[in-house]
Structures are given as structure tokens and as C-alpha cells.
Symmetry: C2
Subunit: 138 residues, 2 copies
């Protein structure tokens, strides 16, 4: 998955505003522990939210933020993240694993839930603020 | 689930060291968004970790922490949390929903994963420190 996602992104990172990052990850026959240590992130999270129980094929998100950064991680299943920035677009597939997707301000994102039981975790540098959302993409 | 978990805990909160808290929660036919807004928590998280892909019936955890607080949330499925403190014990069942379990220092905890695909999220007030773990329960 790391290789696939990295290959998708190698030529397009929206001027550094989208980046794959690795997260400490401990997998054995008792399950997977995935750690998000704030002192290893490029921003200090002030909010975390999760999205779960999404029917297969449903698309959520569909906005950019005026400011701040977010780290997206797929805790279970498989989620396609479509990103758009200044006339270009790329889709990155996140799967349960040690790779998170760092997304900066102005990058429009939507997430398509590919498999049943997929769970998205988002760490955000900013508290919730409806005024931060940009829904249109031009 | 709220009522059940609350009923389990009403007579035993380990001197305030274990407490159910509600988390903002938005559920519709597109799935469930569960928010953990740091300014609404009794501590500032410095680390987040998730546990997923745990086989049914497996027990994880099995320790207390010397200091700090943790908020446990079940993002999907069903997880039994057994807590022990000063000679008493209680089990609280967490299910995907708006209720998190706040656990303080010294409370020994283990988690049993009841259904396939259960996902645990933990917000911790402290960075990872192996010296913080107390594995024995007396």
C-alpha cells in the first residue's frame, strides 16, 4: 500500500500541501496498534474526529479548509481520497496501515469509502469552525 | 448503550478516576462522525493511538499508568473494558456511539474485543513512556 500510494503521489504534491507520512505501527496476531505521537507531527492537533459505519461507495468530505493542516489515517478498510488543488487532481488510496496523509490549507478533499467497515481518523490543527470550510472547487 | 454503561458505573467510579463522557456525534445514513474536541476534554491530549483488526475474544491492555489520563472511545463494534482500582472491579461495555470512557492514573484496564472489526481509539494526556506502565494488579 505504501508503494502504491507513494507512486501515485510522487509527481504531484500540490506545492508541498499534500504528503504521505509514516506513523508508528505495531501489527501482530493480536491486531494492529497505530500511534499518532503529537511530537512527531508537523502540527499540534487540537481536534480529532472519526468517520465510521459509512455504506460502501458513499462519498464524504468535499471541501477544503481556509487554514490549518489535517492528518488523515485509515484505521480499517480502504478509503480513496480525491484531492484537488489549483487545477490539478490526484486520488490516493489509504488502507489500514502505517501511512497517513497530511493535507494543508486550500486542498479540496473528498473521501470515498471502498469497503464495508472502513474507518477514517482525522487529526486537525484547528478547532471546528464552520467559517473555515470552502465547498466549491474552481 | 449509554443507559447500560451508565448503569454499570453509577455505583463505582473509583473515586472519580473512571467516568463516562459524551462526545459530539453526528449519525445519518451516510455514517457516523464522532468528534473529540480538545477544548471540551478535561485534559490536553498529547498522543492518540488506535487498535484495530483484533480477533474476536482477544484481550489487550492489562495495565495501569502511573500518571496522566486517557479517553477511550469505541469507533466501531463492541469492546468490554474491565477496570480495577483498589480492590474493586467493574466492566463497562463500549459500543460505537457518543460515549467515551475517561480513565485516570492508577486504574488498571484491559479491553476485550467482542465483535469482529471493533476499533478502539485512545487519547492520552502523556507521550508514550514505557516507565509509566504498571502491569501488576494487587
Amino acid at each position: 500500500m505504501m508503494r502504491e500510494a507513494a507512486a501515485n503521489m510522487k509527481n504531484l504534491d500540490f506545492n508541498g500541501r499534500a504528503k504521505l507520512v509514516s506513523c508508528p505501527h505495531n501489527a501482530d496476531d493480536r491486531g494492529i496498534l497505530c500511534a499518532f505521537n503529537f511530537d512527531q507531527l508537523p502540527f499540534v492537533p487540537r481536534r480529532v474526529f472519526s468517520v465510521s459505519q459509512v455504506p460502501i461507495g458513499v462519498v464524504r468530505g468535499g471541501h477544503a479548509h481556509r487554514s490549518g493542516e489535517q492528518l488523515l489515517g485509515c484505521l480499517q478498510g480502504c478509503i480513496d481520497v480525491l484531492m484537488r488543488f489549483q487545477g490539478e487532481e490526484i486520488t490516493v488510496t489509504l488502507q489500514s496501515g502505517p501511512i497517513g496523509l497530511l493535507v494543508g490549507a486550500g486542498v479540496w478533499c473528498e473521501q470515498k469509502y471502498i469497503t464495508a467497515g472502513s474507518v477514517l481518523l482525522v487529526l486537525s490543527s484547528e478547532p471546528y469552525d464552520p467559517a473555515s470550510y470552502i465547498y466549491t472547487w474552481t
